[in-house]
């Protein structure tokens, strides 16, 4: 079936380096540093990445960080909670903008 996103395209990610090797290498160096063990564990960072992947709705990132989370030792309950955190923040962000709606409505109303 023809789809816009192909799972095997994730393997072509490195081809982005062909357009600008310098920027690609800088990005990858930064990316590696970000995900290295630090104040947060690699497992915790993978869970954050999984949640963000859902927030930005990147299918490649969802594939990659579902696998990474499992390989870092997270279980499906923890991963599901991470997705709910993304869901809550996205939903909460919409709802919080209801304050703007109320502000405008208050100003317009008699």
């Amino acid at each position: 079936m023809e789809t816009y996103y192909h799972p095997h395209d994730l393997g072509k990610f490195a081809e982005m380096g062909k357009g600008n090797k310098d920027l690609w290498e800088k990005f990858m160096a930064y990316y590696s540093a970000v995900f290295a063990e630090g104040a947060l564990t690699e497992r915790e960072k993978a869970l954050i990445a999984l949640a963000v992947a859902h927030a930005v709705q990147c299918p490649y990132c969802i594939d990659a960080y579902t696998q990474a989370s499992l390989e870092k030792g997270s279980n499906i309950e923890e991963m599901t909670e991470a997705v709910h955190v993304a869901c809550a923040i996205r939903g909460g962000a919409s709802l919080a903008h209801g304050v703007q709606m109320r502000n405008v409505a208050d100003k317009l109303s008699m």
């Binding site: 564990t41 690699e42 696998q67 499992l70 390989e71 870092k72 030792g73």
Partner: protein
């Protein structure tokens, strides 16, 4: 008490050191349980696990994952370099996985215990197949857990 962890699915095991620390913390705080070591072991793409990979459509992706995670440092510490498996009838195998696959010692050393020759065995060429990527991926895998940091 030592704990053993195999991934329950088509993915690699966590890093042993980090996973051991996580388990030590969780088991202590939740259940007051202490243990000595936790060993992580990679699932070999053979037998029942191979059937699972094929039936679930994960075989190609898993093999690619293993191959891409090939670690020369892990390859230097794999068990077949310093142990052999002996079957009930005395046949010699480079490891228990090769034994399961009926791949006896070959390439320069006798394949039976009656002809046991440590010098020749030390210099034999180990019989390898695609499943060997299971022991050389990431931090490596052996009966004693990972073999490289």
């Amino acid at each position: 008490m030592n704990l053993l962890c195999n991934p329950v699915g088509a993915f690699l095991p966590p890093k042993q050191e980090a996973f051991e620390a996580q388990f030590r913390k969780e088991l202590q705080s939740r259940h007051g349980v202490e243990f000595n070591r936790l060993y992580t072991i990679t699932n070999m793409p053979i037998s029942r696990y191979l059937e699972f990979l094929l039936e679930s459509g994960n075989y190609e992706q898993y093999m690619e994952r293993l191959a891409n995670a090939f670690n020369p440092a892990a390859a230097a510490g794999v068990m077949c370099r310093y142990t052999i498996s002996v079957s009930w009838d005395g046949a010699l195998y480079d490891c228990d996985f090769n034994q399961m696959l009926d791949l006896p010692v070959d390439h320069g050393a006798p394949a039976h215990i009656r002809d046991f020759d440590p010098v020749q065995l030390n210099h034999r060429q180990i019989t390898t197949r695609n499943h060997c990527y299971g022991c050389t991926a990431g931090s490596g895998s052996s009966c004693g857990g990972s073999v490289a940091s």
